[in-house]
Structure formats: structure tokens, C-alpha cells
């Protein structure tokens, strides 16, 4: 095997290893598993076509997430509307076939995540679930580190409020006063 083949098989191997995380991120952006996998498919093709521009040994995961994210937002701009489950079909399907979409005990949390503004959900997932640093997340989202930190912080605040409303009483007397702020999401 010559040097070029080594590079390509290493690229393919790393791409394959990154796919589970990429799928999870796509699903958090899109909500519908079928469209999410479409997005991942396009990302794989774009990444492969741009192999030469990728420097092996640098952060492939961040590179792939950036491609996927940019593709997602350019799709949204073309359509001029929210792509996230516009017809509620994801939520509907979930009610009928919950085991396809994940365990029910996390359903409250998943619902709360969906209610977050897109930029906050994206930030908290990149930092809290995908394993990126604040700096890496800022690069992926093409914004300042402070912006990411503030989005993550607001996402946490909002998630706490949303979850406490759903589990009213479980967290003690304070849950009731928070419930009075129903519907007020920190933007």
C-alpha cells in the first residue's frame, strides 16, 4: 500500500468512527430520523469530496460537524422556514412507535430539548453531549466563545424551568413559583 492509500483508508476509518456522533447531532437539529440520516449522507459525500482540504491529524470530528451544520442551515435558508419537525410528524410517530425513537423515561427531557431555541439546543448539545470544548463549539458555530457560553447557560436555565414545570412538586416548594413563569423561555 502506498502512502496515498494509507491516508485514504485512515480518512475512511476516522469518518466511520465519527458517524454515530454525527447521526446523534443531526437528529438533534432535525428531529426526524429519516431526514437526519439524509443530512448525514450528504455530509459523508461532501467530506469525501473535500478530503484533500482536510489535514489528517487535526480534529476530523469538528470538521464533519461543521460541514453538517452548515449544510443544515443552508437547507433551512433555502426553504425559508424551520426544518425541525414542521408538521409534528416526529412527535406523532413517537406516540405510536416510541421504542424506535428512544426510551420513554427520557421523553420529558427530549420534549424540553425540542422547546429550546435552536441556537441554545445546538450549543448545549455540542458542549454537553458531543464532547466538544467551548472553543471547538464556537468554531463549529462560527461565533465567539462567550456567545457559546451564554447560550449553554441559557439552555440550562430553560431546561431546568421546563423540567421543573413537568415534575411539579418533585423539587420542593420552589417548583410552584417557577411554574408561575410558565411559557417564559429565556431567549
Amino acid at each position: 500500500m502506498n502512502h496515498l492509500d494509507d491516508d485514504r483508508s485512515g480518512f475512511k476509518r476516522e469518518l466511520l468512527a465519527a458517524l454515530p456522533g454525527l447521526r446523534a447531532f443531526a437528529l438533534s437539529l432535525i428531529g426526524d430520523p429519516h431526514n437526519a440520516d439524509d443530512l448525514v449522507q450528504e455530509t459523508i459525500m461532501k467530506a469525501w469530496a473535500n478530503q484533500q482540504s482536510f489535514d489528517m491529524g487535526t480534529n476530523m470530528k469538528a470538521w464533519l460537524f461543521t460541514i453538517l451544520r452548515n449544510d443544515f442551515y443552508s437547507r433551512m435558508r433555502k426553504r425559508g422556514r424551520e426544518v425541525q419537525d414542521p408538521d409534528g410528524t416526529y412527535t406523532e410517530r413517537l406516540a405510536v412507535h416510541p421504542e424506535q425513537y428512544g426510551s420513554l423515561d427520557l421523553q420529558d427531557f427530549r420534549n424540553a430539548l425540542k422547546q429550546l431555541p435552536d441556537d441554545q439546543r445546538e450549543a448545549i448539545i455540542l458542549v454537553g453531549a458531543s464532547g466538544f470544548s467551548y472553543e471547538e463549539a464556537a468554531e463549529i458555530c462560527d461565533c465567539a466563545i462567550g456567545t457559546i457560553k451564554s447560550r449553554v447557560s441559557r439552555a440550562r436555565t430553560n431546561l431546568q424551568a421546563l423540567l421543573q414545570i413537568e415534575h411539579e412538586g418533585e423539587y420542593g416548594p420552589d417548583a410552584h413559583s417557577i411554574a408561575q413563569v410558565t411559557g417564559t423561555i429565556v431567549k
Binding site: M1, N2, L4, D5, R8, K12, L15, L16, L19, P20, G21, R23, A24, L27, S28, D37, V40, Q41, I44, M45, W48, G102, S103, L106, F109, R110, L113, I124, I125, G128, A129, S130, R156, L159, Q160, L163, Y171, G172
Partner: protein, 48 residues
């Protein structure tokens, strides 16, 4: 008293891990093989 940040962080990772632990759909594996094969044949097939 439960730490709300800890609880949220835990659930976030759990939700995410559920998708990550699914098997990679065959369509992606097939796509990668196709891309790889197409490139190999363009470059003359290498060592065989």
C-alpha cells in the same frame, strides 16, 4: 438536594448516547464503500 446541572448533564448524555449506540445504517457503510471503490478505480486500481 439534587443538583439540577448534574441531572441535566446526565440526561443530555443519555439521550445522545441512545442514538450513538444504534447500529450504523447500512446505507452509510454502502456509500463509503462505493466512494472508496470509485476513487480506487479512478486512480488505476493500485496494487490490485
Amino acid at each position: 438536594m439534587m443538583d439540577p446541572d448534574g441531572d441535566i448533564a446526565r440526561k443530555l448524555r443519555a439521550v445522545y448516547r441512545e442514538v450513538e449506540s444504534q447500529e450504523i445504517p447500512q446505507q452509510f457503510l454502502d456509500l463509503l464503500e462505493k466512494l472508496d471503490a470509485a476513487e480506487k478505480s479512478q486512480k488505476g486500481g493500485g496494487n490490485g
